[in-house]
Subunit: 241 residues, 2 copies
Amino acid sequence: MTSETSTDGVTEQSFSLGEIPGVLFTPRGATGPRPLILMGHGGGQHKKAPGVLAGAHRFAADGGFAVVAIDAPNHGDRPKDEQFIQFAGAMRARMAAGEDPAELVAAMHDLLAGQAVDDWQAVVTAVQGLGHVGVGPVGYWGVSMGCGLGVQLIAAEPRVRAAVLGLLGVHELVGAAARVTVPVQFLVQWDDTRVPRDQAFALFEALGSGDKTLHANPGDHGGIPAHETDHALRFFARHLG
Amino acid sequence: MTSETSTDGVTEQSFSLGEIPGVLFTPRGATGPRPLILMGHGGGQHKKAPGVLAGAHRFAADGGFAVVAIDAPNHGDRPKDEQFIQFAGAMRARMAAGEDPAELVAAMHDLLAGQAVDDWQAVVTAVQGLGHVGVGPVGYWGVSMGCGLGVQLIAAEPRVRAAVLGLLGVHELVGAAARVTVPVQFLVQWDDTRVPRDQAFALFEALGSGDKTLHANPGDHGGIPAHETDHALRFFARHLG
């Protein structure tokens, strides 16, 4: 642990686990075991991006959960490798040219997924060793790149028991999605200019889960309405509580 | 009022308002004004169909709402007229032949809508005159035929301030849907054999509401999962509370 602060009833503890920078959010003064929610950020974002922070505080303060967010490989405080820099440049060029970057985005997620899955598995084991987290049920929240890496994680990691995913198309993920069998709440932005609606529907359809619900709201990629945080909190309470 | 019973903390009062048979659900011992939810049943169903009863009890017991359900024209305890009997026969024949009855269904809703809107407007005025209902905000819940008649009601009736709708395609409803501007939660069954998914998406898209969310779940027309009642309760609490 490298630092600790408390705001609005939530304690934030920054940590490093080997190469992985992370933040653990718990209700202030928490003791004893509790469910744990992993939060995966979007592409180009980091462990304390506004969407991650808002959800983490809500889940800890109102749900009593422990929440952990880490920087994905090549994101936030982590070094960028040459292959990632080339990918990111190619994506920017394709978007600037008005072309659909979806295939490149999917290939980049695939490039990051192996390391990201290893990271999350190590982080779950480490934080569940802490007295105020303990070994309880685990949930996952992540949209866009956080969904792409999350699908790969959940396909590989049986400790994850419920997930909020979305804002991503099916590219490259059909196989992994079929191995996701836990309850899923899947977010779609109806007017998403980065993820065609049909591609997002196809990923929802590819999920192997028997218990899955798609929530679609008007607006573009970044515009998930606040009431979805409320839905996510109740979803996690139902499945991890 | 023709009869009164109480179960699990909810009082059911059966009534007739002119030709309209209905049931009013309120929390046992309720006094004073409260929000009112109108529940419209599906085609071939009636005011005490299982889906209506389950929702009404939940909304009254856990939300403190007043809930009123009535038999739609030509349904439940109401007489059937010749035109309706012919329509229903034609629909059954078309479904038995494996053909899509959607256009006939839409035409039937249109046939019933004028009377249904008049009925609901009279019922709202009447039950809001009771001391344990009073003049508070009004919500509407109805899927399938309950959605078709509900869209026409909400387009015409400014007292309705939020609605749960769904399980219906856009046929004939484009104009009325555009006049629906209140918050809507819209239910889709992903594997609905009676309503093609694209038709349901088109009705969601046609709604004039700025605040609208689509919830899709796996399963056929009748298989809305129980957790959607929980979502509906919180939606009404947020918008009518």
